[in-house]
Amino acid sequence: MQTISLCMITYNEEANIGRCLKSVAGVVDEIIVVDTGSSDCTVKIAATFGAKVINYVWNNDFSAARNESLKYATGDWILFLDADEELAPDSREILRSYININNEVEGYFIKIVNFLGNSSWTEPCSDLVFRLFKNKKEYEFHGAIHEQIVDVILKVNPNAKYTAAEDIVINHYGYLDQEIAAKNKKTRNLSIIENEILQEPNNRMLKYHYGVELYRTGRYEEAVQQFISAANGIDAQTVYLPKLLRYIVMSYYAAKDYSSALGIIETALGLFPNYADLFFYAGLIHYEQQNYGLSYDYFNKAITFRDQPVYYASFSGLNGFRAYYYLGQIAEKFCNEEEAMRYYILCIRDNAQFLPALDKICQLLKPWKDIEESKNALEKIFDLSDSYSCLAIAGALFRQNAYRLALEYLERYQTMNLLTEEQQIWKMICLIQQRRFFEALKIIEQFDQQNANYGLCQFNRLICFWLQGSLHKVFDIAGNLASLGLATDTAAVIGIIVNVLKPVRKANKFCMSDFTLLQDLLVRFLDLGEIDKVKAMTELLDDKTIVSFAETLGKIFLKYDYLELAEYYLCLALEREPSIEAVLELGEIYITKEMFFEAEYYYRLAIGMNGKNPQGYVKLLRLYDVMRFNILRQAVEQHPDIETFAAMLKEAENTLCQV
């Protein structure tokens, strides 16, 4: 029976060390903790797990500290973990089975899953690390940071065998944004590594790690230099070469040097032709440059390589949901909503937590308008027996102003769960949009003056009373809100409301720089069909404000099919500055109004504005199909005797149907 010593070094890790030690309790035979001067409860917690704790004076050298821990280890094997890591539960048995195989292996590369991101969004990113090795005096760590041991083992024992044990998994939480921020890891690492590089200017590995740190701090041009100098003349078998090449690509990409990035991708694909991340970045670069054809091609290639070798350390989703998401957006650029929907569904199936795709799906369904159809579609796409899916969908629907459906899913979620304050507010707004004021006011009552959302709730209370026509209640609340001390733009919105209700002969016009609150209010009133209120409010905006928000106004009117108003504001927006979106929307409006020559004008304007955007071409193409069909239908009616027209009409009809 072989024994294992867990070795680690710590510094103020009270938040993490418990999780780490718990994960190995009963798996390892002893725990050695070298503490480098923690001022928190780290040592105490370690002691409760029966660790042998050694106090050590920190000297800016990770290897020295780690080697200190090795001195005390008595087991046959060393497992080395950091406090912000844990042994995955499934790996406990497997770990023990590996060390008992008598195969003369000196050490194992095991799989580490790095969690990146923030509290709302994390993504795993796997890699291989050398953390399990035989306990021999000669085996020591080396390097002040990103300390290596495998090369030392090889130096001491050139015949040493080591292999990968990918089924042993360590979870690493140290790269989560909050962890990085807490430890100020970036700058700490940079200064140490800069010192070290002075002493070993030719160390490839050091340059690589230095590049990584530079990249993390946003110094991309410098990172590129380090990476390239690390890659020059490197052995193609080097285990970290794929990552190194990807880092070069990422740095060039971040530095917006797209052609260099593409050059590296081309070279790298020669070596690693199935490396999905490279295809993804090529897709991304072309997407940024609006080369949608090429971009589409690369993202499609990225998703074909599902299985990636662990040493590629592939980022999660680059061959899956992230690529699908971009494919969906490209499909939208080609006005192919069906394909876009298909990609967004593939995306959300690959990663149920990837909310942007859910938003896109909800946007395409137009759930604020096509309520029943949207509901049917959503039920088909998602498993709604899971209450969290209901919540996610409710959120997405709420963001699309589809209040009725949002409320439905929120209530479904509520049967199993308690709503948070934020969700309560969603619900309250949804209720107002259903004119269920009593219930809404009930929720509002729960938010007292101390609550951070008090102002928002009172504002909604005001809306409740306005919609019910209780005007002095409205004035009361407005006065009350004013006494809270409002931001200028909020005050302007309240001012507008008061002015709408108390018309003055020579009303002041209001200006604002942030349109969000008013925009939200206008959309909600449009959703309620309160077009007069919307008109009255917009009339109180001064010209400058109107002009700068004309496009936004146009879009919201279009969303609720007020075509004349949408047309007016979009044209106004175009006078100020050309926007391809506004132009395309005007085209849509004129198609709805059957003013085809106008639509044609705007679509070709769009093509002239940006020839790389396929929307104008596709829309114009469809418009011509429609115009052709119309003229031929007229021809067949007026000239039933001319047979060729019937045939031509048939052909035109077929073309139309294909779309």
């Binding site: 797209y258 052609s259 593409l262 050059g263 440059q289 080369n291 949608y292 054809g293 090429l294 589409y296 091609d297 490209i330 499909a331 080609f334 192919n336 394909e339 020559f597 106008e598 044609e600 004008y601 070709r604 304007l605 093509i607 002239g608 504005m609 940006n610 020839g611 790389k612 396929p614 071409y617 596709v618 114009l620 193409l621 011509y624 199909d625 115009m627 052709r628 003229i631 031929l632 007229q634 021809a635 007026q638 000239h639 001319i642 060729t644 027209f645 031509m648 035109a652 073309t655």
Partner: protein, 568 residues
Amino acid sequence: MPSIGLVMIVKDEELNLAACLESAKYYVDEIIIVDTGSNDATKKIAERYTSFVYDYKWNDNFSAARNYGIEKTSCDWILSLDADERLECNCKLKSIIEHYQDSDAFMLPLYCFDDKSCQHYERVNVLRLFRKDKGIFLGSIHEQVAIQDSSKIQFLEQPIIYHLAAGKKERNAKRHRNIKLLKKIVLNEPENYYAKYYLAVEWFAFNKIGLAKEYFEQVLSKLDDNIVFFVPALKYYIACLSAQKKFKEALALCIEYTSKFSDYSDLYYCGGLILEELQEFEVAIKWFYQAIKAGTPPLVYAHTYGTESFLSYYHLGCCYESMGNCNKAKAYYEQALTVNPDFVIAIYPLFIRLLFDNGPETAYRYFYKNEHFLRQKNADVIAELFFQAYLTDYACRIVGIKEQNNLVYCSNDLKYLYINGHNEQAKRILRQDNNLSKDEKVVYQIIILLVQKMYSEAHKKALLLWQSINNRTKALAFINLSSFLAEKTINVCIEANRMDEYNKILLSILNDFLHGNYQSIDIRKSISDLIIQSADGKRIIAENYKIKGEALDKVLECQFAYARSLFS
């Protein structure tokens, strides 16, 4: 002091002769003109320059005529020119002759232009300056000067002889005449490889690749010691192989002979072209780089101007663009144009890249900054590109610059102006422009009046146009259009035999105005309404939409080929 006699044989060269003699007269002591039967003012012009004008009865033999001229001169050196050639030298010919005292004859560079813009040319060597007593013309056509001791032939960098491009018709007539004469010689003298070379060149020009290739092949094996013929024959031979799609063979020759003529940019360029055709872009790029590195070839090689610079830059751009590297492509197109701003071909891909990648304003500024709008052809090409891209505003801006710099207008310029409502400017140009016929001017005046909604004036002008018999249908179209625009009525019923032309005229105006500003929408609606009054018109309009749709499909296909499944 050597004396030089210019000897020319001419026939019906009244358009060229004076300029030729002007270019050469200061370099020579005597001018001998042998006229082989002109029917125009050629002889009169010749007599203004010399008293030695002789009539000679044409006997299908160039050499005999030339040798006759040589006999007439008293000078000891002969300079031989044709009327469509010009001589240019920045020093005295005599000092060159004195400098090379031991030489009996000189090979001069001849620049053959392939179009009237005088920018693209081939450089070949011709023996045109020699001692009277050492040389004689041989051969009834493409006559060669036979020099007794070939070691006494010297290649010169100048004087340069410029050979002007002829019109297509004239050129073809000459070619047919040459082929007739050459065929006869080849038949009688099967070993005359010079004649075979010239015959092959003519055949190549007429795209008879098989015939040409066979003779070039013979020339290559028999004249391999005569570099003046061997090198151009090699180039032609490779071109024949490429035309027959025998790319591997062609490439093998390029490889073989670049090792022999390693300083010859044309060969590297040929190799690059073949590889580009084979879509082996990365290798092609290496060849074009080699062509640039090789620099301008030595005088003895026939040379296509630009293979060592702008032609290769341009093709580097094409290769990089095909490989998806648009930035590099752009840089090379720009370089090609920097080296040779008149190399208009490079404007097209550069324009498209600039437009797509950087937007119209940047594209416009680029060409403005590099003074392309001050060059007639460049300005016209770029304006039309903007127009085609639905950016007529920019086309109008270019016309404005042309106006400031007194460049010549083309009828497209008028179109850009009136469809975008710049009516006053259009009228101003219309008054100045002298290239347009009277009727064309009336047509433009009518359209401008229609744009200005002056329908009754337009109607009057249209009636004026009716008087010109060839423009009657046009007149009818405008008569109907002006009344239709004014009061939605149709004045004249169109006879069946005019219907097709009538509809086409209206359709072309309709399609022009598609590139216009917002105001043009109303005109387009009315024109469309007018056309669809008839059954025929409905068919034409429906077909027009179909054509437009197909054109858009093609653009999509071309530009977004990789995303084809998303739109087709």
